[in-house]
Structure formats: structure tokens, C-alpha cells
């Protein structure tokens, strides 16, 4: 009996083992792949490595563009209760109409964005609702902490952090980086284990030549000028004339890059490099430099402009104020159109064109910002009968404010054309210098003697008797030139009698220049002359900038050897 029982028991045990073995073969051999894949799906989660754009800082390391990690919410339509109260509660939390939220969520599919990059408070509020079928994913949001400051330099990015304007666009390949994937293990409860690798990668950082304080001074004064002159637009560029480093660049109207997508197109235009205008009298630098370099004139060469007008190609061109006999220096100082046309005629169209080109007029400056335009000056063979009376006084040519500033910087630095730039260095996340733009090429275009002589002439413009006295800065000599130009009315195709562009371009301290600056005010109301509209803006900005940069007054103390008493 016992033996029989033992046989049965043995058979049952062996059969059971056989069944278990069969099941094991099924699990480990026959259906191995299916179960393996299923298990992998359960405990292995593949996540995107978070990609962060590099940050942008000013020349002193002050942050101008940063990244924030914000939550975006998505819906899983399969699990979201569209009919119940959930959508209403969600809509109320994000301050939207339930219909608008529902319109975003289709019936089918497993993933749809509901709201991107929410502020932390709203995200927390929605998380507390514990709505089934809603999920949260962290996303990087570009943040510009100084709001509209330097907006035309920085540019902005879109909702997916794609570069759209400014430095963000021009240096996108340096700022962005590729991410990849990381696998994270998790248990049945959804708890994740440490991935053991970095789940975030960063792009290169960019150091600008801009100084936030100078930029602020420029923008503040620009706002005042816009309000005072009820102008349509305005631009200011401040540059180091020795290196071409842009210290500040601002346009009005401006925009907040944090809401770049919704800003008006006119506010997003970087007028300093993308808008052309007729420079008016600031263009007289071309005939001035050409006549000195070609040794056609000396500063004391006389011109009889007492008639107050000159006829060129059947067109009568007048001076704003009548003068008698003027020296060449006084022609520039008083901005006599008649005298300038006489100089232009003496030079001839080929030389005027040659020096305009040498000074970079009608040429891109090569600034490292997107959208720069070329400008325009007609070739000598295309000059009309009136051109010789128009071009020397800055009509029939189109320039950008930056081109004019670069031309005047050549006078400031002793005769070389600089390469304007806004990026100083590109630094890797580890702190290594990826690229440096500190020592850009300079190209000598005129002799140091010509530059020095013309600098003296430009200084006289800001002295008593000149058109730019309002640009004079207390304590330091300024060299510069005023410009007033009519704007062509697109309806009549003729010069408007109400719309002008007023400008002032110069540098300070005149004898050892630290800043070169151009101020352009479009369509000021009440006054039109560059000396009245733009020159005071130059003065106000330059005065504060010199203080900020700790540039001594010309009459300030000089150091003395220390006396050691014995």
C-alpha cells in the first residue's frame, strides 16, 4: 500500500515538475521575446535628455538671457473625461474657456499638449486637481530677465526654443546643442531609480560686448527723446571706435523678447542695421576726408557761399542760413550745403564715390547680427545731372546708422575702418573659450594726418558757431556732425516737407576717444534739425556714459608723485 502511495506521489511530483518545466520552456524559449519586451516596457522608461540653450551675458557677466524649467501639461484623450467636471476645472485653472480647452483635445490619440510652459503657481494648482488623463512634462523656457533691454540685440526664440531673431538666431548653432535619450529603470509603482548619468545638456554661453548699464542709459534717453519729439522711431548705437565693440545698441519702438511672438513687426525691426535713410549732412565726412586725403583743400581754403544757394542740373539748392565767405573748416562746421556742393564739384564724382566706398558707405559692416542691409550709393556712371548737387550733402544715397558710425569711428581711431561686433566670446559649459572675437581686423583707409585734421574740424562743429553745440559734454571735447534729411513721401514720390530724419554722430573725448555714437531720430515733431533734436540726446547719453566709465574730465587732476617725508 505504502509502495503504491509512493509511486503515485512520485508520479504527481514528477508530472508537476514536468508541467513547471514546460511552462519554463514556454516563458524562457517559446515566448521569451514577447515577455521580455513587455517587461522592458514596464520597468524601463526612455526619457529625452533635457536640452538647454547656452546663456547670454553682457561684457561684465550680467545675465541677459537665461533658461527656466517650467511644466507643460499634456492630455491623454483616452483617459480624460471630456464630459465631466475635469475640463471645467482645468479651464478655470489656466483661465480659459472650457470650450477652448476641449477644442484643443481630440477624441482619439494618446498625447496632446494642453498648455505649454506654465508658471510654477498655475502648474501647482493644476497638479493639485489630480485630473486623470493629464500629465506634466518639464520644458525649458527662454527667459530675458531685463525685459525689453537690448531686445534688438538678443532677439528671441519660439515656443519650441527655435531661434527667431537677433543673437539667438545668428549664433543658434553655438547656443543650442543636441540631447539624445537616457534610460531610467522604474518599478511597478512608477518609482524611478537613479539614471546615473546627467539628464541635462547645455549649449555654449555667449559673452556680448554690450554693457548693460550703458545700454540702460541709452534706452532711457532714447525713450525721453521719443516722448519729447513725438518721433516715429529712433536708433542709437554706441561703439568703441578703437575696437569696433558695440557697447550699446537700441531702437524705438522696441519689444519684450519674453513675448516676442506677439510683438508688432515694426517693433522687432533692428533699425540700426536694417533701415536705410538719407544721411543728410553727416555724409559730408566723405567730401571732407576725400579733399584732405587728396590734398585738394586745406582747412583754411576759402569758399564764397554768400549767395546762399547754388544751381545744379536745373535744381536750386539752398543753405539753411546764409553765410558769407567760409573756410573749408567752416563749411563743415556750419554745415553749408552750398560750400559742400562746391567741394563735391572740385573732387568730381569718381573721387566722391571712391571715398564713400572707402568709408564703408553702401557696404555691409559685417556686424554679427542678422538682417543687415547693404545701403546704396550710385556708381559714378549712373549719377544724374543733379547728383553732384545731392550726393555731397547726403541725398540720393541710403545708409544704415551703423555704416555712418563706422565711418566716423575711422576719424576717431586715426584712419582705420573697424569691424563692428556684438559678440566678444563664446564659452563652452566647461568654461573653455570656443571662439573669441576680441581682436577683429582693422583696415587703414586714410592717413592718420587726414584723420587728425578732420577730427579738429569735427570738434569745431560742437564748439561755438557750429551746428552741434547742443552735443557738447561738460568736461570733455566732443567731435561730431549734425545731419538733417528730408524723407521721401511714398505717396508723392517727392521729399516731404514735414517728415525729416535728424541725426548726430560723433565721438568723445575727442582727443582720446572712448565712445563713438550715432543718434538718429525719425520724424520728430516741433523741430527738425539734427543739432536741436539728436545732438542733445548725444550729450545726455555721453555725459552719463563717461561718468559710468570713469573717464576723467580733461580739466581733472593728474596724479602726482607721492612725497615721502623723512
Amino acid at each position: 500500500m505504502n509502495k503504491k502511495r509512493a509511486v503515485i506521489l512520485n508520479t504527481v511530483v514528477i508530472f508537476s515538475f514536468f508541467l513547471v518545466s514546460l511552462r519554463l520552456v514556454d516563458l524562457m524559449v517559446v515566448n521569451h521575446k514577447r515577455f521580455y519586451d513587455s517587461a522592458q516596457k514596464q520597468y524601463i522608461k526612455v526619457e529625452d535628455i533635457q536640452v538647454r540653450r547656452g546663456i547670454i551675458v553682457d561684457r561684465r557677466g550680467r545675465e541677459l538671457a537665461l533658461n527656466l524649467d517650467l511644466d507643460s501639461i499634456y492630455a491623454d484623450p483616452k483617459h480624460l473625461d471630456r464630459e465631466g467636471n475635469d475640463v471645467k476645472r482645468l479651464a478655470s485653472a489656466i483661465a480659459r474657456e472650457p470650450k477652448a480647452v476641449l477644442a484643443k483635445i481630440p477624441d482619439k490619440g494618446r498625447f496632446i499638449w494642453v498648455e505649454r510652459k506654465l508658471d510654477p503657481e498655475t502648474a501647482e494648482k493644476i497638479r493639485a486637481l489630480k485630473i486623470e488623463g493629464l500629465g506634466f512634462l518639464p520644458e525649458a523656457k527662454r527667459f530675458y530677465p531685463k525685459a525689453d533691454l537690448a531686445s534688438h540685440i538678443l532677439g528671441f526664440v519660439g515656443i519650441d526654443n527655435q531661434a527667431l531673431e537677433g543673437i539667438e538666431l545668428k549664433f543658434d548653432k553655438y547656443l543650442k546643442t543636441s540631447g539624445g535619450k537616457v534610460t531610467v529603470e522604474r518599478d511597478a509603482g512608477g518609482r524611478t531609480l537613479s539614471p546615473g548619468v546627467n539628464t541635462e545638456v547645455k549649449g555654449n554661453n555667449i559673452v556680448l560686448t554690450i554693457d548693460e548699464a550703458l545700454q540702460r542709459i541709452v534706452e532711457k534717453e532714447l525713450d525721453k527723446a521719443m516722448a519729447h519729439w513725438k518721433a516715429a522711431a529712433a536708433s542709437v548705437i554706441m561703439m568703441d571706435p578703437l575696437t569696433g565693440e558695440i557697447l550699446a545698441l537700441a531702437n524705438r519702438p522696441a519689444y519684450d523678447p519674453n513675448r516676442g511672438g506677439s510683438a508688432a513687426a515694426s517693433a522687432k525691426r533692428d533699425r540700426a542695421i536694417t533701415d536705410l535713410y538719407e544721411p543728410g549732412s553727416t555724409f559730408k565726412i566723405v567730401i571732407g576726408v576725400a579733399s584732405l586725403e587728396e590734398k585738394i583743400l586745406r582747412p583754411n581754403t576759402l569758399f564764397d557761399v554768400s549767395r546762399g544757394s547754388i544751381e545744379v542740373g536745373g535744381k536750386n539748392i539752398r543753405d539753411a542760413h546764409k553765410h558769407g565767405v567760409l573756410t573749408f573748416k567752416e563749411v563743415i562746421q556750419k554745415s553749408s550745403n552750398v560750400g559742400s556742393i562746391m567741394i563735391g564739384m572740385k573732387l568730381g564724382k569718381d573721387r566722391v564715390y571712391k571715398y564713400a566706398k572707402l568709408l564703408g558707405i553702401g557696404e555691409k559692416t559685417g556686424i554679427d547680427l542678422p538682417g543687415e542691409v547693404t545701403g546704396w550709393i550710385p556708381r559714378p556712371e549712373r549719377w544724374s545731372s543733379t547728383s553732384v548737387g545731392a550726393i555731397p550733402i547726403g541725398q540720393e544715397v541710403a545708409v544704415t546708422p551703423l555704416q555712418m558710425l563706422r565711418a566716423y569711428s575711422a576719424i576717431a581711431n586715426g584712419g582705420s575702418l573697424v569691424s563692428p561686433h556684438v559678440v566678444s566670446e563664446i564659452i563652452s559649459p566647461r568654461g573653455e573659450v570656443v571662439a573669441s572675437f576680441k581682436n577683429k581686423d582693422m583696415n587703414r583707409i586714410i592717413s592718420a594726418k587726414t584723420a587728425e585734421t578732420f577730427k579738429d574740424i569735427l570738434k569745431s562743429v560742437v564748439e561755438e558757431g557750429g551746428t552741434g553745440t547742443s552735443a557738447s559734454v561738460d568736461g570733455n571735447a566732443v567731435a561730431g556732425k549734425t545731419g538733417t534729411a528730408q524723407i521721401i513721401d511714398p505717396r508723392t514720390k517727392r521729399y516731404s516737407k514735414e517728415k525729416y530724419v535728424s541725426s548726430f554722430v560723433g565721438f568723445v573725448p575727442a582727443d582720446s576717444p572712448r565712445i563713438a555714437m550715432i543718434v538718429v531720430v525719425y520724424e520728430p515733431k516741433g523741430q527738425i534739425y539734427g543739432g536741436a533734436v539728436a545732438a542733445p540726446v548725444f550729450r545726455d547719453i555721453a555725459g552719463q556714459a563717461l561718468s559710468y566709465l570713469n573717464i576723467p574730465r580733461e580739466d581733472s587732476l593728474r596724479e602726482e608723485p607721492y612725497l615721502v617725508l623723512k
Binding site: 533658461n67 524649467d69 510654477p120 531685463k146 524611478t192 531609480l193 546615473g196 540702460r216 573717464i551 581733472s556
Partner: protein, 113 residues
């Protein structure tokens, strides 16, 4: 001699079984502790990410508050952005860098504001 050998063999077998069982339980214990540490690391990782996130927010807030535009507002009062008085800025000749210098505002011949 034979009996002694048998006793030793039994003891050895007993300890072998105990050792095997202890080994298995030890392995399970080690594995569970390892997993516990992994979870702990995972939680710390989450905390780190959260702290970094908060740090980014605070840096952004600080940067925004320290902007020159905000420093100039009336609320900033007298401690706001003040430009240096250029009357008190003096020339220093960098060439003579090994010499001590003095500069005296008393000797200035200016009418200071």
C-alpha cells in the same frame, strides 16, 4: 576513528546547508539594500532637479531685480544706481606703475557743483 569522521562530516554538512541558506538570504538582503539605495538615489536625483529648478527661478528673479531699470526706480531710493561724480575722477599714469601716487581734490582749481 570512523565515528569521529562521521560526526565531523555531519557537522560539515550542517554548516554547509546553513552557509548556503545564509548565502541565499544574504544575497537577497544585499540586493534589496542595493535597490533601496538606488531608489534613494533616484529620490535624491529628483530633489536635485527640483532644487536646480528652483535655483534657476531664483537666479532669474534676482537678475531681474538687479537690472539697472529697476535700480533706478524711486523705490530703490538713494541706494539705487548712482553714477560716479566725474569731478572726483583723476588721471593715473599707468606707465609709472611702481610709484606710489597721491591726488588731492583740495588743489583743484574748479568751481565744483
Amino acid at each position: 576513528m570512523k565515528r569521529k569522521h562521521r560526526v565531523l562530516s555531519s557537522i560539515f554538512r550542517f554548516f554547509l546547508v546553513v552557509f548556503l541558506i545564509a548565502g541565499v538570504f544574504g544575497l537577497v538582503y544585499l540586493r534589496s539594500n542595493y535597490l533601496k539605495l538606488e531608489y534613494c538615489l533616484g529620490d535624491l536625483e529628483k530633489k536635485r532637479i527640483s532644487a536646480l529648478r528652483e535655483r534657476k527661478m531664483l537666479i532669474a528673479e534676482k537678475t531681474s531685480l538687479l537690472s539697472f531699470a529697476k535700480l533706478e526706480t524711486p523705490q530703490a531710493g538713494a541706494d539705487g544706481f548712482v553714477l560716479p561724480d566725474r569731478i572726483k575722477v583723476i588721471h593715473i599714469d599707468k606707465q609709472k606703475k611702481y610709484m606710489p601716487y597721491k591726488a588731492s581734490l583740495e588743489r583743484r582749481q574748479l568751481s565744483e557743483p
